[in-house]
Amino acid sequence: MSGADAQVQPRKSGLTRRQKRALSRGAQYVVFVAAVIALAVTADWGRLKNQFAQWDLVKQMFPDVITLALKNTVLYTMSGFVFGLVLGMVIALMRLSPVGPYRWLAGIYIEIFRGLPALLIFVFVGVAVPLAFPGTEIPGGTYGKVALALGLVSAAYMAETIRAGIQAVPKGQMEAARSLGFSHARAMVSIIIPQAFRIVIPPLTNELVLLFKDSSLVLFLGVTLEERELTKFGRDLASQTANSTPILVAGLCYLLVTVPLGFVVRRLEAKAGEATK
């Protein structure tokens, strides 16, 4: 038997490739089922139910968890996103500027704010800014502070995304615009940036999901009762009642927004993929 034959003919001693594949898949199912059973048997369901699924506590949370906590979470997120988008746009354009110091400044900003934990930025905004500029109030109170902190963090990420989007627009677009008599700035605004935004909508929506979760850090700024968002609201109620059910409910409220958003991102990505085909 030649060497080439040995590769295509099923060997008598061992299994065929098909049989091996079936065996491997079967083993994976066995491991999965075993893990689920082990978890179900070993967990103390009674105590879990007691601690996390008290129905009367759930009822007690409504409607405040939606009308107050979720509303505040969305408000914090949106204000941070808008501020971050504007700042990110400016930084992205600085990063692409022919003026050296602008590029360096933008680069330094991105490195710093991408490298620091969001929590530290919140502490910085809450403590250092009032110290550095005594007597100045950040407009909008807590809402302003959150918008500033979330905006500072997300601007760094969004700047890089937007820069990549601008650079993904084919060079010929700028050349066509310039040869029609557009100035560089006007071509950017009318031709390049609208196309860049189409490209970056999916990653920007992803950034929105991340911000949505990061808005929970507002509890480190210290908030009044009316300013509480989902995490703070859930935690407060959990410590009042010595039961973790509110935390589970708060978590589900996050999913109520992030899961549909994630679905939207995947749809947008699929659409963008089709358009570039």
Binding site: P170, G172, E175, S179, L180, G181, R186, S190, P194
Partner: protein, 259 residues
């Protein structure tokens, strides 16, 4: 040729790093003249064309269009470019805009024309290139030939005095080339001043007033189509034309020659 050439190129040099692409080009294109620039790839013909509207900054030399020195450091390049239409190999339509918007947006933003006037001029020019029925379509839904005709209409809508064509049919399927060439022939018949970088020898022979053969960054031959294409006096021109007109007959060349 009239006394003042529409395009005047004087002693033009252009380098990309160590690569000297243009090495002393002198060229005049008279008003209403159609000049085809031919030559092997890498001969600098596209670079020459792109220097005329300053998409490439020449290293040395002068370019004048309609009496204005394009290469002058203080020139208002946006104003000069309004008088020069450019058509690209890759069409470069704006994909986020409809066909009509591709024609109206530059008019409105650059020439500050009113909404109605821009729409009227857009419709007029779409009709000229035979694409009135595609006014509301988006570029992605058009064939290459249709996209290129829209690109020509977009340039014409700005009312240019000169049109530059950078291999306008090279990215097209062979059966679509004819429609684009027909539009260009129409423009030539109307008296538009045109500078065309092309490989379409039939077009050059029938439409051009002059044909310029470039090789290695210099103009090798410049004359009527009958002279340059019909009876070339330089060996390099003959060699290029024989390979272009009958590619199947070319010999295998030694590879050390090229860069």
């Amino acid at each position: 040729m009239s006394s003042t050439p529409e395009i005047h190129v004087r002693d033009l040099y252009k380098s990309f790093g160590d690569n000297e692409v243009l090495r002393g080009i002198d060229l005049e294109v008279g008003q209403g003249e159609v000049v085809c620039v031919i030559g092997p790839s890498g001969s600098g013909k596209s670079t020459l064309l792109r220097c005329v509207n300053l998409l490439e900054e020449p290293t040395k030399g002068q370019v004048l269009v309609g009496g204005t020195e394009v290469t002058h450091p203080d020139v208002d390049i946006d104003a000069v470019r309004r008088r020069i239409g450019m058509v690209f190999q890759q069409f470069n339509l704006f994909p986020h805009l409809s066909v009509t918007e591709n024609l109206t947006l530059p008019q409105r933003r650059v020439l500050r024309r009113g909404k109605e006037e821009a729409a009227r001029i857009a419709a007029e020019n779409l009709r000229r290139v035979g694409l009135s029925e595609k006014a509301d379509a988006y570029p992605a839904s058009l064939s290459g030939g249709q996209q290129q005709r829209v690109a020509i209409a977009r340039a014409l809508a700005m009312g240019p005095e000169v049109m530059l064509f950078d291999e306008p049919t090279s990215a097209l399927d062979p059966e679509l080339v004819g429609d684009v060439l027909a539009v260009m022939r129409m423009l030539a018949d109307e008296g538009m001043t045109m500078m065309v970088v092309t490989h379409e020898m039939t077009f050059a022979r029938e439409v051009a007033d002059r044909v310029v053969f470039m090789d290695g960054g210099v103009i090798v031959e410049d004359g009527t189509p009958a002279q340059v294409i019909g009876n070339p006096s330089h060996e390099r021109t003959r060699h290029f034309l024989s390979r272009l007109l009958d590619p199947a007959m070319a010999d295998v060349e030694e590879t050390e020659k090229g860069p």
